[in-house]
Amino acid sequence: MFIRSSATFAAISLLSGAALAQGVKLTDPQIAHVAYTAGVIDINAAKQAEKKASSKEVKAFANDMVRDHGAVNKQALDLVKKLKVTPEDNDTSKTLSKNAADKLAELSKLKGAEYDKAYVANEIAFHKAVDSALESTLIPGASNAELKALLQTGLKIFQGHEQHAEHVAAGLK
């Protein structure tokens, strides 16, 4: 119980850390950047998994991540183009990318079933963290209705992946 709640806390602070803890309100271009970055991070992790995973289910899951997050991010790019908004890098995006790069390096040292487990566990934690960031900060913070709607679709996608990842994890011995 303690482990779980501290993991959740760590996951939330991973996202909301620097910028949000200080009560800094993100602008729409920054929110778009954070959401897009979250997608890119998951695609990169999945590409590593497509190469490294040994379980067929884990490989298939990674493939689903590349496909879905690629589709969401394409929609995001189409939207910012339509709204003539340039996504703006910010501390939250930077913290996210930095943590993700560290995690990727850590995962790269693992092999076989050990890698599979660690990748899927990280997918669960990462999707949970993004879910809470979307719900508590990004969606309420978005001013543009179309951006808000896209983030809401993103939330459903991330929640779906979290459940999918939990299912995959349950199947790993």
């Binding site: 689903d64 496909r67 879905d68 589709a71 394409k74 929609q75 809401q152 679709t153 459903k156 996608i157 929640q159 779906g160 992946h161 459940q163 999918h164 299912h167």
Partner: protein, 105 residues
């Protein structure tokens, strides 16, 4: 000796009867990761038209394991109900998408 007009009436009602007994087509839409309607009722022999309006691939997967339909992004796929019963189904890629079909014999 029956009057001559009876024959067309009989044929007509036979045709109508067969039309009303004919299998129906039920449309189920997947949009923004939501399955609508969430509950439908059909019967064995009816066709389900799965309409995926999302840019994401979905599946309609029966929890019973009886069927598993893949519906690519922005595509419509049809499948026929073959077995009676209450079927809970979901999307394998997004298990938060859940719905139910009640199939009468």
């Amino acid at each position: 000796m029956s009057p001559r007009w009876i024959f067309p009436v009989v044929v007509f009602s036979m045709v109508c009867g067969s039309i009303s007994a004919k299998a129906a087509t039920i449309e189920i839409t997947m949009q923004n990761l939501v399955i609508l309607p969430a509950e439908v009722t059909g019967k064995v022999g009816d066709t389900i038209k799965w309409i995926n309006k999302d840019v994401f691939a979905h599946t309609a997967t029966a929890r019973s394991g009886d069927w598993d339909v893949a519906i690519p992004p922005n595509k419509t796929v049809s499948s026929v109900l073959k077995k009676a019963g209450v079927v809970d189904y979901y999307c394998r890629y997004h298990p938060n998408m859940k719905a139910m079909i009640t199939v009468a014999p």
